[in-house]
């Protein structure tokens, strides 16, 4: 690396000494990269908040009695954890931060199609967040993140409407982002960048955007109806007022099951990038990975009923939903196998992003396989609404999405900031997170099969040992999440200057400076090759160049 200083024209650079001017230049920016940074800050704030709530939940569960907090406080804590983590962290995390930053760069565009809409989406996100936070501050909400009626619409005495409004507004933020991504992918690709030359991250974001556009409005209207029922006492979901409580569940899961794919599809995209780069090798089965994303996006709309196997839906519909749920395992398996095959004959390096990617595969396999358990109705009857489900979706959401998010943040950190983070601490924290995660959530599978129901404030004593184990793991996990915050912040001042392409990666985003200039490219690139176009000898050459003392 010949470069010793950050490029002068980077998007982060400001020449105005005036503080007010500087703040305005950020809050009114239409640059997708700056908006991504705004999102990064906001989303990590919400992550810490949701994590804090989870901490209280885990501490409470160390003993079987409800001794740390009252049941009302406990219910508010796990609801806060769920609402914040799902609506304000997991759903926007990868699309709004990494997607916003990378989509135009990967596509060779100067910005997203609708930059002002993009800024609006951030404001909507913040606005929704303020609603959700004010609900928490003004006494919290105790419905669980699922807002099941008629509890949420009639019986709960907490700030349901404020929270629902927050989630509703945040939904429009997602929609704005998704519309932007779809239009950008279709219309703003660089010359020569055909669909099958797109990086798999773009494919994943495109599939995610389709899901967001089709599913989010439905939950929007469902939440709106809950709010109306609550405000005016008019029945649509409460049977005492003439409504049908299952209708809410159908509308809710029609969004919230695809929402799982809104969270995990972008993660697939990130992992494909990481595995290829750190194997110095083209991805194995590009088309299969790309189309499996689309298949998951489509099938994801047809399985919402598997959340309702014990809700009294008919036997036939349960069987149909169960069948399609089984099918959806296949595209997920295809991805895992293709990633594994990519490693073969590669030149693998254990840089931090790669550690996250490998950890992702392991955890996602467990999350995915237990998903099959839950898809089999006969077993689901026993384990649904127990800790088995809790463990399953944490393996997918935390083990999947958060691992990919952290891996992606590390991978593109040099591009976003122009500086390298501390590789040693990076590796250590990745390992701590992997160990802590498994300690926290693996015992919960056992707990669940033993019959421990979720959302329990007090529980029978025989479950205590597993809960203690889980809480101990959560402590390790918390340490693992805090370390990256510290060394990433430090890297902003002391990190080594990264240069344009520190990983020798292939994507268009690495063709511009780090950090990129405001309009991304000095000149619009012309693409002549597929994605991940490592030459056949790249892996062998990389291994040949390795000397003791080079990065592992």
């Amino acid at each position: 690396m010949a470069t010793t200083a950050l490029p002068q024209r980077g998007y982060l650079h400001d020449d105005t000494p005036d503080l007010g001017e500087w703040i305005r230049s950020w809050l009114f920016t239409v640059d997708h990269k700056r908006i991504a940074i705004l999102y990064l800050l906001a989303i990590n704030f919400f992550f810490l908040l949701g994590g804090l709530a989870a901490t209280f939940v885990r501490i409470e569960l160390i003993t079987p009695q409800g001794d740390l907090m009252s049941s009302d406080v406990y219910n508010r804590m796990f609801t806060l954890h769920g609402v914040i983590m799902i609506f304000f962290f997991l759903i926007p995390a990868i699309p709004a931060v990494l997607g916003n930053f990378l989509m135009p760069l990967m596509l060779g565009a100067r910005d997203l199609a609708f930059p002002r809409l993009n800024l609006l989406s951030w404001y909507l996100y913040m606005f929704g967040g303020i609603f959700a936070l004010s609900a928490a501050v003004l006494g919290g909400v105790d419905t669980g993140w699922t807002f099941y009626t008629p509890f949420s619409s009639t019986y709960s005495n907490s700030n349901v409407i404020l929270t629902i409004t927050g989630a509703f507004i945040m939904g429009f933020s997602s929609i704005a982002t998704a519309v932007n991504f779809i239009a950008t992918t279709h219309k703003m690709r660089a010359p020569g960048l055909t669909w099958f030359r797109l990086p798999l991250f773009v494919w994943a974001m495109y599939a995610t955007s389709l899901v967001i556009v089709l599913a989010t409005p439905v939950v929007g209207i469902a939440l709106l109806l809950v709010a109306i029922e609550r405000l005016w006492g008019v029945g649509i979901f409460d049977p005492a007022l003439g409504g049908d409580p299952l209708l809410f569940q159908h509308l809710f899961w029609f969004y919230s099951h695809p929402a799982v794919y809104i969270m995990i599809l972008p993660a697939f995209g990130v992992i494909s990038e990481l595995i290829s780069t750190f194997s110095r090798k083209r991805i194995f089965g590009y088309e299969f990975i790309a189309f499996s994303s689309m298949a998951i996006a489509i099938l994801g709309f047809l399985v919402w009923g598997h959340h309702m196997f014990v809700s009294s839906q008919s036997v036939y519909s349960s069987l149909v939903f169960s069948f399609i749920t089984m099918l959806i395992a296949i595209p997920s398996a295809i991805k895992v196998f293709n990633w594994t095959a990519t490693l073969y004959k590669g030149s693998i390096s254990y840089r931090t992003p790669m550690l996250y990617a490998l950890g992702f595969i392991g955890l996602f396999v467990i999350g995915g396989l237990t998903g099959i358990f839950l898809g089999v109705v006969a077993i689901d009857i026993h384990v649904t609404d127990t800790y088995f489900v809790v463990a399953h979706f944490h393996y997918v959401m935390v083990g999947g999405t958060i691992m990919a998010y952290l891996g992606g943040i590390h991978f593109w950190w040099p591009k976003m900031t122009g500086r390298m983070y501390n590789e040693i601490w990076g590796g250590i924290s990745a390992l701590i997170i992997f160990v802590g995660f498994n300690m926290t959530f693996f015992p919960q599978f056992v707990l669940g099969y033993l019959g421990m129901p979720r959302r329990y404030h007090v529980y029978p004593e025989e479950f205590q040992i597993l809960h203690v184990l889980s809480s101990a793991g959560a402590t390790v996990l918390a340490v693992g999440f805090i370390i990256p915050i510290i060394y990433l912040m430090l890297s902003l001042k002391t990190g080594r200057i990264a240069g344009d392409n520190p990983w020798d990666a292939t994507g268009l985003e690495w063709k511009t400076t780090s950090p990129p200039p405001t309009h991304n490219f000095e000149s619009i690139p012309v693409v002549t090759t597929e994605a991940y176009a490592y030459p056949p000898e790249a892996a062998a050459r990389d291994a040949a160049e390795w000397r003791p003392g080079s990065p592992l």
């Binding site: 049941s71 049977p239 809700s311 095959a341 392991g362 898809g375 609404d385 000898e537 062998a540």
Partner: protein
């Protein structure tokens, strides 16, 4: 802490079957989830960049045969798992013909259970072993979920409808009962136990009186020990029959099928044709809807005339009515053993003439009229004798001492004798333009009550 179990107790006939499938799934998962990480670890080490000894040339980037293999094999496996699970699921959801039926009401935050012989319990469920038990469940407020981990069964309990599940306990003992659907503040205290007993112990338990809190919050000791006498029909159905009579249902739902409403004889479990042409199986949910929202589904050949009882009956009472209607199907004929006096015990005829103010002295006894009004309401008379004249029966306002034209063309004066006769034997003199549909109260109501009713009718004006 018992030696770290991985499975809960196996206490029902399903438990072993579910656990077997679970174990097979774990085995299959280990095949993938257990082996794949080792493959990844192997590749990670072997192809690490520091290892110069391996061949990295001649890379392949796609292989259709490989893709099809690793899509096809998992597909076959999950399909196998699916069909296994599907058959087991259908088995779990299909109760056998003969089951012991127990009614469960969920409310924030307790379970209330009523057995067919009338015995009630809270947060406990006693069941016999080796006998299929079917729970018919509903909720008074929000969604709950009845979860018995040791039996591997769980079913959401919804307000406004019935859900049911069945199981057969196999081992005597006490097991957890959980509410598995989050239902508010004390969700985690909505727990209890299920007690599986041998048949002999169960029958002994059934006839032991116990104290319970009723769903409406009042506590009641079962005054007399409930009896288990299957031959005479069970008490829950009996209470339902009394309710049926006192609500005046029998006036329209005549057993011979000649009433305004369809006969309920043999209704439960049969196929009913609706006025819109659809055919519905008359299950618990259908009966429930028909009581609370009669206009929703109308039996072909009948009119939408039944008043809605929504909000007038507790979940408890609906359960009793349904138990009664079901008893009309199970036992074949009859079951209409009369004589169930709907005794409102107040038979004191306190003649304290309440002269209200000046003016015309009332021609009726105010105290008796007040009691009469109570009887009138209890018997459900108001369902038909609506004050606006729009009911099935004539309005009673200004009836007393008026001239009434009867169906046979004659005219009578509605004096006390006429009123008494009309109450005791409604069919004797039918008002013109009305049908003889009112039940014959005969000796089902006491003379005192008739007296009170007459005074009440007189109070409505003359």
């Amino acid at each position: 802490m018992r030696n770290f179990p991985l499975f809960p107790d196996q206490a029902s006939s399903f438990a072993g079957q579910v656990d077997t499938l679970y174990a097979v799934l774990i085995g299959l998962s280990l095949l993938f989830g257990g082996v794949l990480p080792f493959i990844i670890l192997f590749l990670m080490v072997r192809y690490h960049r520091s290892n110069k000894a391996v061949d990295r040339m001649n890379q392949v980037h796609s292989n259709l045969a490989l893709e099809l293999t690793w899509s096809g094999i998992p597909l076959l496996l999950v399909m196998g798992v699916f069909f296994w699970g599907a058959f087991l699921y259908v088995h779990i959801r299909t109760p056998p013909k003969q089951t012991l039926e127990v009614y469960v009401i969920g409310k924030q935050w307790m379970w209330h259970v009523q057995h067919p012989n009338g015995k009630r319990e809270n947060n406990e469920l006693h069941v016999p072993i080796n006998r299929p038990v079917r729970l018919i469940m509903t909720s008074q407020d929000v969604i709950h979920s009845f979860y018995l981990p040791s039996f591997r069964v769980k079913q959401d309990v919804l307000p406004g409808r019935y859900t049911s599940m069945w199981f057969e306990a196999t081992r005597p003992g006490e097991y957890h009962l959980f509410c598995a659907e989050y239902c508010g503040t004390e969700h985690s205290l909505m727990v209890g136990r299920v007690v599986a007993l041998s048949m002999a112990d169960y029958e002994r338990w059934l006839v032991t009186p116990g104290e319970v809190i009723l769903p409406d919050g009042s506590s009641g000791v079962a005054a007399a020990p409930p009896v288990l006498v299957p031959a005479q029909g069970d008490p829950m159905a009996l209470v339902g029959e009394q309710l049926f009579t006192s609500l005046g249902c029998a006036g329209c739902h005549r057993m011979d099928g000649a009433g305004i409403g369809p006969s309920l004889q043999g209704l439960y479990g049969s196929q009913e044709r609706m006025s819109d042409g659809s055919v519905i199986t008359a299950d618990e949910n259908y009966l429930r809807t028909s009581i609370l929202n009669p206009g929703a589904q109308i039996v072909a050949g009948y009119q939408n005339v039944m008043p809605s009882y929504a909000g007038q009956l507790g979940e408890d009472q609906i359960n009793q009515l349904i138990a009664y209607i079901k008893s009309l199907s199970d036992g074949g004929t009859g079951a209409m053993s009369g004589g169930a006096s709907s005794g409102s015990g107040t038979s004191t005829s306190g003649t304290s003439g309440g002269a209200t103010g000046g003016g015309a002295t009332p021609s009726f006894d105010a105290a008796l009229a007040a009691q009469g009004k109570q009887v009138f309401t209890n018997l459900g008379c108001a369902g038909c004798h609506r004050s606006d004249g729009a009911g099935i029966g004539p309005a009673l306002e200004k009836l007393y001492n008026s001239e009434v034209r009867l169906a046979d063309g004659s005219v009578v004066t509605a004096d006390e004798a006429y009123l008494i006769e009309s109450i005791r034997n409604a069919a004797a003199k039918v008002v013109e333009g009305y049908q003889p549909v009112m039940p014959v109260y005969g000796n089902q109501i006491s003379d005192d009550q008739v007296r009170q009713l007459v005074e009440y009718i007189k109070s409505l004006g003359d």
